[in-house]
Structure formats: C-alpha cells, structure tokens
C-alpha cells in the first residue's frame, strides 16, 4: 500500500475518543478498554447519563485521579485510581463477567489490530511478539450489545487494518459493529462495510484506497462531525 497519504490530516487520539463518545446514549452502560477508549469517558455528550463498568469489579465511577493521589483499593482496569460517585457499586470477578458476557453492557469500546469485512476482530496478539495476552478482551467482544473499535486506519508501514479476512489471531468472530479510525467511521452491516464519515480533507475514494474490503458509501456519508 502506498504512503501517498502520509502527510494528510488525521484525527488525534483525543479527537477519536471524542467521536467515540458521541455513540453513548442516555442511560447506557459502557466498558472502555485501555488506550484511546478510556479517554472517551471525558467526552460524554451533555445531558446524557452514562454508567461506566470496569472489569475488575465496579459499575459507576468518576474521574481519574492525578498521579500519587487516590485510593489503591479503587482503580479501573488500567490500574488508574478513580473516584467514587453516588451510585458506585462493587462486585467480584465472577459477577463482573456475568455483566460482560451476559449482554448487560450496551457498549464496549476497545482498541484493535485488524477488523474484517464481517466484523471479526483481532486485537490481542501482535504476530512479531509471538506471546500475547487475552485478558478480558474475548469476553468483552462477545458480550456487549454494541462493540466499537477505535484504532488507526493503517499500520505503521501503511498496511490496511480493515481487511477482507484477519491474518492475526482472532479475538472473536462477527462481533464488531462500528469502527472509528483516525480517518473514517465505518459501520459493519450484513450487506458489507458502510462508510458513514470521513476525516476533513479526505474523500470516500481516498479512504477506500487504504481499506481492503469494498466500502459501501452511505447515502448520507459526510465529514466527521464532532
């Protein structure tokens, strides 16, 4: 794949998180993975009440403490100290994954390495490392009502991450509903992948050039609105 787009504008991590957060509806229960996803907690649209779950056993928590503060007995799945809010509730790991696997979360947001045309996800093993960590990713991928993947559109050497068939070890099959990348928002549907939005300065044709499967351009396809 060429690197002819290498100097083009791309959304930064915070802006991608901001776009992800637009998906949160009033009353949603949401799990955010480590990395870009967790940043989305800062951008819940005004007027919507969203409850965050963390797989280490808490539903409903507030902001992340600054370094050196907070309670070591109260952290999110990334190990960051977070704050109690009215409504916070703690539980053990078995309960936590009953919530995850039982379909009780409205949205799960995770990072990704590859997403296939059918919505297969690969995100736990970078092939060069040979050893990876599954952690809670497989459970979150099969369990949430809506799985959103936030990732860069291409690899460091410009290979597409949105592919016809994943070449990396899978996390789960046919699980991804929406992909938010640094240049596009793509929905996975039964008919195929639908390009909903593209980054400023990009065109749908240019997004297609760095995407392996054929994209269906939505009739109302537009520039990403934040």
């Amino acid at each position: 794949m060429s690197d002819k787009f290498k100097d083009k504008f791309r959304l930064d991590r915070q802006t991608m998180a901001l776009r992800v957060a637009k998906e949160f509806q009033d009353g949603d229960y949401v799990n955010l993975g480590i990395g870009i996803p967790v940043l989305a907690s800062n951008y819940v649209p005004a007027g919507r009440e969203v409850v965050f779950h963390s797989e280490n056993g808490v539903m409903g928590f507030g902001e992340v403490h600054t370094a050196g503060e907070g309670d070591p007995d109260f952290v999110n799945a990334g190990g960051q100290a977070v704050t109690i809010i009215p409504g916070t509730c703690f539980f053990d790991h078995h309960e936590s994954f009953s919530i995850v696997r039982g379909g009780h979360l409205d949205i799960s947001v995770m990072g990704g390495l590859q997403v296939s045309e059918k919505g297969d996800l690969a995100n736990w093993l970078v092939p060069e490392r040979q050893i990876g960590t599954i952690g809670g990713a497989m459970d979150l991928a099969v369990g949430a009502k809506k799985l959103i993947i936030a990732m860069n559109h291409v690899t460091k050497d410009n290979q597409p991450r949105i592919v016809k068939k994943c070449s990396y070890e899978l996390t789960a099959v046919e699980c991804v509903k929406l992909v938010v990348t640094d240049i596009a928002v793509i929905e996975v549907t039964k008919k195929g992948m639908v390009l909903k939005e593209f980054a400023p300065s990009w065109t749908p044709a240019e997004v297609q050039e760095v995407t392996e499967p054929k994209l269906i351009v939505a009739p109302d396809c537009k520039e990403i609105e934040l």
């Binding site: 056993g57 070591p72 007995d73 078995h94 994954f97 599954i134 952690g135 809670g136 459970d139």
Partner: protein, 261 residues
C-alpha cells in the same frame, strides 16, 4: 469448642503447602488486591513445581515500590524465586514491559495456559460450586476453542469449559472474623471473592481481624464456610495508608540514578 480459623503467623499459614501444589492467587494484578504477605511467606518456604491460577503473573516489587507501596510483592516473588512450573492465567504477559514470567516463558522454563478472564472466573466458580463445567460463548472461532467440545444451544455456539479447583487459595480481604467471614474493600474484591472456597484450603490475608458479630451480616461477601484460615497483616500498617511519599521519592531517585549510570 469455639471455631477459630485465625492463625498466628504467615509462615504458619502456608506451612503445609507442598511441592507440586496447585495454588490460586487472588487479586486483579494490582498489588493492593494481592495477598502479598502470604506470597512472601510461600517464597520463603520455597516449594517447587507449583501450578498457579491467577489473573496476571505479577509486575514485580520494583514497580510497586516505585509507586510507593509498603507491601510491594505480587506473584512475581514466586516466579523470580523459581517456585512456578505452570501458570493458568488470563494475562500471562504485560503489554507495556517484559516481566520475569515472560522472560522464563520465552526461555522455555515455565508453561502458561491462557484463559480468557471471564472464562477463568467462570471455571473457578464452577469448581467452587461443584459443577462439571460450563458452556461459554467466549473463544468460539479463536485459538481458545482448540480441543474443546462445541455445542449449539438455542442457535448459539458454546465451548465446554471445565471447572478449576486447587489445593490452596491465597486471597486478600479487608476484614475477617474467627469464623472466616470476609468483607473486601472496593475494587480489591475481584478474584479474591471468586476464589474463596474453590480450593481445598482457602487462606485469607486480611487488613484487620474483628470480633465475631462485628461484621454486618448483610454486608458479608464471603461466608466463613468457604474460608479455612485467616491471618492479619502487621498492625503497624493502617488500612488507609497512602503510599509513603518519602519512600516513593527515595525509590524514584534510586531508579533515576540507576538509569543515568
């Protein structure tokens, strides 16, 4: 005779753990949720060829000391002292740095059986609850399904996952009484409460032992029937102790000095 599960020392608490034992280690991976003093005692005892069941394989005390923790040991103390033969674990390696377990794994000196985190919790619960296994949707179509029975139930595909039990479970709780009733503190409950009762012998390291009757019956998370031994952490450390800033600063200074040398 009154029931009394309280033991006097950490060394006594782990004295009968033999070579080759299977040991569950509670916690999420954060040192605050880890039965640190029990792990230190086990490392001192120095048993060989153990199989562990845990969420992670430990970051190591250097990491936690740098963050200012007084009790800074996690599963790494067993790994680096050569106690571990095999780990049944959700997160065998860290995504941010290479821990001792990863080094040994790459050298072929330890084995790992990786289990998705929710499946790990469910297999432990199955062991504790006397079930023969559970059908889970997690892992279908991935490396995890290898060698497992598949079954379609109500149109959805599941894998049969077998129960996990152990000889010993080492867990961390906040308060306990002489019957073994336990309460936890915030996100330090995690795998601790899940593992209580899933082993032949469950040993709980607690911040504080209280008189029978002092725990609110409505708030007890782990009924004492699951717990065999309760041991209190040294009293000089208060439950609410924050990381000690001076120690953290000293540790940071040392690391910086090491880095520039």
């Amino acid at each position: 005779m009154p029931i009394n599960k309280i033991v006097a020392s950490f060394d006594e608490a782990v004295a009968d753990i033999p070579d080759g034992a299977t040991i569950m280690i509670g916690g999420f991976g954060t040192v605050a949720s880890t039965p640190t003093c029990l792990l230190e005692a086990l490392a001192r005892k120095g048993v060989k060829n153990i199989t562990t069941v845990s969420n992670t394989t430990g970051f190591g005390s250097d990491v936690w000391r740098l963050l200012g923790y007084k009790f800074s040991e996690d599963m790494d103390v067993l790994v680096r002292n050569g106690l571990v033969k095999k780990a049944i674990v959700a997160a065998p390696v860290s995504t941010v740095y290479q821990n001792n377990f990863e080094k040994l794994l790459r050298a072929g000196k330890v084995e790992a059986e990786m289990v998705p985190q929710g499946t790990l919790a469910e297999r432990i619960r199955a062991g504790k609850a006397g079930l023969g296994g559970v059908y889970v949707p997690t892992g279908v179509g991935t490396i995890v399904e290898k060698g497992k029975e598949k079954k379609v139930i109500n149109g959805k595909t599941y894998l049969l996952e077998l129960p996990l039990t152990a000889d010993f479970a080492l867990i961390k709780a906040h308060k306990g009484d002489r019957w073994g009733n336990l309460v936890y503190r915030r996100t330090s409950r995690t795998f601790n409460a899940t593992m209580a009762g899933a082993a032949k012998v469950t040993i709980a390291e607690v911040d504080e032992i209280v008189e029978l009757g002092q725990l609110d019956p409505e708030a007890i998370i782990t009924p004492g029937v699951y717990v065999d031994r309760v041991i209190e952490r040294p009293k000089d450390v208060k439950v609410d102790d924050r990381p000690i800033s001076q120690e953290a600063l000293d540790s940071q200074a040392k690391t910086k000095a090491r880095g520039s040398a």
